[in-house]
């Protein structure tokens, strides 16, 4: 039994002048999920968010919120409270009045407002600061006020537009965790826009990856990370190594591919539908590669030269040149963790177990 859809976007298009920013977007989002829109600037994620909120009118397609078609509704009727990137707190109002604003508009009774605002402020740990003005608070505190202001509306869906980008790293991590906690406690549906893949991976139930106005992939963080559908997705999230391969045998979901000059093969689990002889890409994450370790015949193996390496604290990142191509451009990135003082130089063998490999269509 599927949970009811909270957000249903069908063939949504948005054009600005000559710029076709959103191209035939189709997206279904279930109630109670934390969804992240991920992508670089200009990919359309913010445009889509703002279209859901009603700040843009879409040029074609439909937007359904909780089963209602909202295309024609102006922003103040959509019921999609948003946390803005710059917080957009009302400078002439106290924290209390800022948070209470939406409820004031609805003309709620005074004691109800009192109760709900206090609760919202408690949730974001700002109790006691009701009479302060925005300019008297730190960035982190302002951000929480913005959150409280959205939360207090008791709306099933909340939109967040890169709300943490103005905070420093430590604070960001803290708030991330809190945000996720609140969402789960209250069972809210949250749409979160960010270009930070770490945020996306750590907070979301599902990630929607945008690529120039099109959704390249919509899946769980695990799926996005380990089973990227396109090179773009693979490359955007974390770092990936790609090597072109050729399909030589198909047995159901087990695909055998050939790579390198020597024509070594490896068999990988994949749900792509392929044909013999097709040229596709094999992707493997840097942390999945081993250096100079014992490899068996099922493994993926490459001979390489170390070009240089970078010490990154928890790991040493090696850049190596494929001996087969040997054009001295290091295409291989290998992350070696916890190897003590060992430093690899010169010729190395790079290997990976088949379950660490992933096939992607070109």
């Amino acid at each position: 039994m599927a949970s009811p859809l909270l957000l249903d976007l069908k063939n949504v298009n948005k054009i600005f002048g000559q710029n076709h920013v959103l191209k035939d977007i189709n997206l279904q989002i279930e109630k109670g999920k934390f969804i992240t829109f991920l992508g670089p600037s200009g990919c359309g994620k913010t445009t889509l968010l703002r279209s859901i909120a009603g700040f843009y009118t879409i040029d074609s397609g439909d937007i359904f919120i909780a089963g209602n078609r909202v295309n024609e509704l102006p922003p103040y009727k959509r019921g999609t409270p948003m946390v803005f990137q710059e917080y957009a707190l009302f400078p002439h109002m106290t924290v209390f009045n800022n948070v209470a604003y939406g409820l004031d508009i609805q003309k709620r009774p005074e004691d109800e407002i009192q109760e709900r605002v206090s609760a919202a402020l408690a949730k974001v740990k700002l109790t006691g600061l009701e009479e302060r003005y925005p300019h008297e608070m730190s960035g982190g505190q302002q951000q929480r006020v913005a959150m409280a202001r959205a939360l207090v509306m008791n709306s099933p869906i909340i939109l967040l537009d890169e709300p943490l980008s103005n905070l420093d790293a430590k604070l960001r991590e803290e708030v991330r965790v809190e945000l996720r906690t609140i969402q789960q406690e209250l069972g809210l549906t949250v749409i979160y826009v960010t270009h930070d893949q770490l945020e996306a991976l750590s907070m979301s139930d599902e990630i929607v990856v945008f690529n120039k106005g099109v959704i390249d992939q919509h899946g769980t963080p695990h799926e996005i990370y380990y089973k990227p559908r396109t090179q773009y997705v693979a490359d955007f999230i974390g770092t990936t190594n790609f090597i072109p391969v050729e399909v030589v045998r198909i047995e159901g979901s087990r695909i055998t591919v050939k790579y390198g000059k020597a024509g070594r093969t490896v068999t990988v689990e994949s749900d792509l539908s392929l044909k013999i002889g097709e040229q596709i890409m094999l992707s493997v994450r840097p942390e999945s590669l081993r250096i100079n370790e014992q490899a068996n015949e099922h493994d993926f193996v490459i001979q390489a030269y170390v070009s240089h390496s970078t010490f990154l604290g928890e790991k040493e990142r090696y850049f190596a040149v494929d001996k087969d191509t040997a054009d001295w451009v290091p295409q291989w990135i290998i992350d070696a963790y916890d190897i003590g003082a060992t430093r690899y130089r010169g010729s190395i063998q790079i290997s990976a177990a088949p379950d660490k490999l992933h096939l992607i269509n070109k």
């Binding site: 298009n13 054009i15 600005f16 002048g17 076709h20 909120a53 700040f55 009118t57 040029d59 074609s60 024609e72 102006p74 922003p75 103040y76 009727k77 019921g79 999609t80 409270p81 948003m82 803005f84 990137q85 710059e86 957009a88 707190l89 009302f90 400078p91 002439h92 604003y101 939406g102 508009i105 609805q106 202001r149 509306m153």
Partner: protein, 552 residues
């Protein structure tokens, strides 16, 4: 290939879905069409061929036009130069008493420009205080009527305007630039000429143009002091009185053309931008002073002379207001004030106060609505609306008054004889200023704040009232104060619209001055200034820190 949904039809549809905005947009359109476009059209159509040929054939009118151009240019020149020197001394020199000098520059704003004319007569008219003194002690015959007197009076009247315009430009020049230039060896006059003057130039030109437009439209002073030196604004008045709206309209149109030219020039100059604030904040503690001791001394002298003239102006007016018949009978009396300021049969000052307040409120209100919808709401015809809203700035006050009386004394809507026209005339002159000021303030309000408001359920009106309006409070009050002060002092704009029930103080002063009842003119002037000061005081008390009045 998909096309974006936009264009007039689309934005109109969107507007229909937002009824509160729709109301605002429609109201704005109706108001501007009715009171800006309609009168302009009527003016053009009131003229006919014979009126035009009359204007161009009778030499009297051509002379008036020439005189207007000459006197305005001269006055604007001197006012600008004086304003510049004064402003320069305040911002760039080490002279003492800067607070005092700033206060002096503010004083003339309290009184209508015609008061300068009055004071001039009281001092330098052939029977004036100083002329008499010169005559009896030195046998010198002073005749300053016509161009010389007008030049002097307009210079003093509009010097504060030039000063304020230039001062804001000078203030915004980053001292870093001058310090850098000094660092590279420039000093004294060379520094002034190559850096300071060049950077201030757009502001100086702007000041010149502003004063010029004001002089063009000046009615009171030419009428009082012009003597036989005829000027266009005065001729227009004469023709209206003679029931020749056609001829008056012709002259009105002729009057507008240089004003429009100036307006266009002004926009070009402003568009070039002020290149005075390109880089960063001034470094703390850097001294901007660039003048030598000798220059300081000269500047101080200059400022003192100007201050002396302005103080003399006010002093003589006060003397006439509080003595029986200054010069002949110097006994102190409150009789004049009682007769013409505090009597129910002479409600001129009260009238001014009420009408100015109402009109200023409306000006700011309308300016707020216009700036809100034009900055934030998409709808067809926006450019036209913006143009009509700003147009009255370019129109001389005399012309605005003329257009209103011609358009609304006949035809489908008759408003002649009611206070409404007076309020509208003042509104038309001040609303564009408020509109511009508020638009600038608006642009500084982050769009996301308004979005947050609508996002939380507030429609346009609610957003306007609960978010925008409070955030703009300082600007709104400042604009209200400015509009109020200008309304109290306006003469040329409303001279055609006066009815016996609604005689306004500025007109009263003018009438009494014209008929030689100087003590009553002075009394009303004192009453007017008192009312203005009193109101400003009350506003300061209410708003305290939120408004900048009396900050010297």
């Amino acid at each position: 290939m998909m096309k974006e949904k936009k264009g007039a039809g689309e934005s109109f549809k969107r507007l229909l879905k937002d009824p509160s905005s729709l109301v605002l947009v429609l109201t704005s359109f109706i108001f501007l069409i009715l009171f800006v476009i309609y009168p302009l059209i009527v003016i053009v159509f009131t003229t006919d061929g014979s009126d035009w040929s009359t204007f161009f054939t009778k030499p009297r009118y051509g002379t008036a036009l020439l005189n207007t151009i000459v006197s305005s240019t001269l006055s604007a020149l001197t006012a600008t130069v004086f304003g510049f020197i004064y402003a320069y001394s305040i911002h760039y020199s080490n002279i003492k008493g800067k607070k005092f000098f700033r206060f002096i520059a503010f004083l003339p704003l309290l009184a209508p420009s015609v008061m300068s004319g009055l004071a001039f007569l009281l001092l330098f008219g052939r029977g004036g205080f100083i002329s008499q003194w010169l005559r009896s002690n030195f046998g010198v015959e002073l005749d300053l009527y016509g161009l010389p007197g007008l030049w002097i009076v307009q210079t003093i009247s509009y010097f504060p305007l030039a000063y304020m315009t230039i001062t804001s430009v000078l203030r915004s020049i980053s001292p870093n630039l001058e310090v850098a230039a000094q660092n590279l060896g420039a000093r004294g006059f060379k520094l002034f000429r190559t850096i300071t003057l060049k950077l201030a130039l757009p502001g100086v030109v702007n000041a010149f143009l502003l004063v010029a437009i004001n002089c063009f439209a000046d009615f009171g002073n030419p009428k009082l002091i012009g003597g036989n030196y005829s000027l266009l604004a005065v001729e227009i008045y004469g023709e209206i009185i003679n029931n020749e709206p056609g001829l008056a309209s012709v002259m009105g149109i002729i009057l507008v053309i240089p004003a429009l030219l100036v307006f266009w020039l002004q926009n070009k100059v402003l568009a070039k931008g002020s290149y005075s604030t390109v880089t960063g904040k001034p470094v703390a503690g850097l001294n901007r002073v660039t003048t030598s001791k000798r220059t300081d001394w000269l500047l101080f002298l200059f400022n003192s002379l100007i201050s002396l003239m302005i103080i003399a102006m006010f002093l003589i007016t006060i003397l006439y207001a509080f003595t029986r018949n200054f010069g002949r009978d110097n006994t102190f009396t409150l009789d004049h004030l009682q007769k013409v300021v505090f009597s129910s049969s002479s409600p001129a000052v009260m009238n001014s106060l009420v009408l100015s307040l109402i009109s200023a409120l409306l000006a700011v209100g309308l300016g707020l609505v216009l700036s809100y919808i034009i900055t934030r709401k998409p709808f067809p015809g926006k450019k036209a609306l913006d143009f009509s809203a700003v147009l009255p700035i370019a129109l001389p006050g005399t012309f605005v008054g003329l257009a209103l009386i011609v358009a609304f004394s006949k035809g489908p809507i008759i408003l002649q004889g009611s206070a409404i026209l007076i309020v509208i005339a003042m509104l038309l002159k001040q609303m564009p200023v408020s509109y511009r000021g508020l638009t600038a303030a608006f642009k500084q309000v982050d769009k996301s704040i308004e979005e947050a408001s609508t996002n939380l359920g507030a429609n346009s009106n609610k957003t306007l009232g609960t978010i925008v309006f409070p955030m703009l409070q300082k600007t709104i009050v400042a604009n209200f104060v400015y509009a109020f002060m200008k309304n109290m002092n306006t003469l040329s704009t409303i001279i055609f619209l006066i009815t016996p029930k609604w005689v306004v103080a500025a007109v009263s002063i003018f009438n009494y001055a014209e008929t030689g009842t100087y003590y009553w003119a002075a009394a009303v002037a004192v009453g007017l200034m008192g009312a203005t000061l009193g109101t400003l005081g009350i506003i300061k008390l209410i708003f305290r820190d939120k408004v900048k009045i009396f900050d010297f």
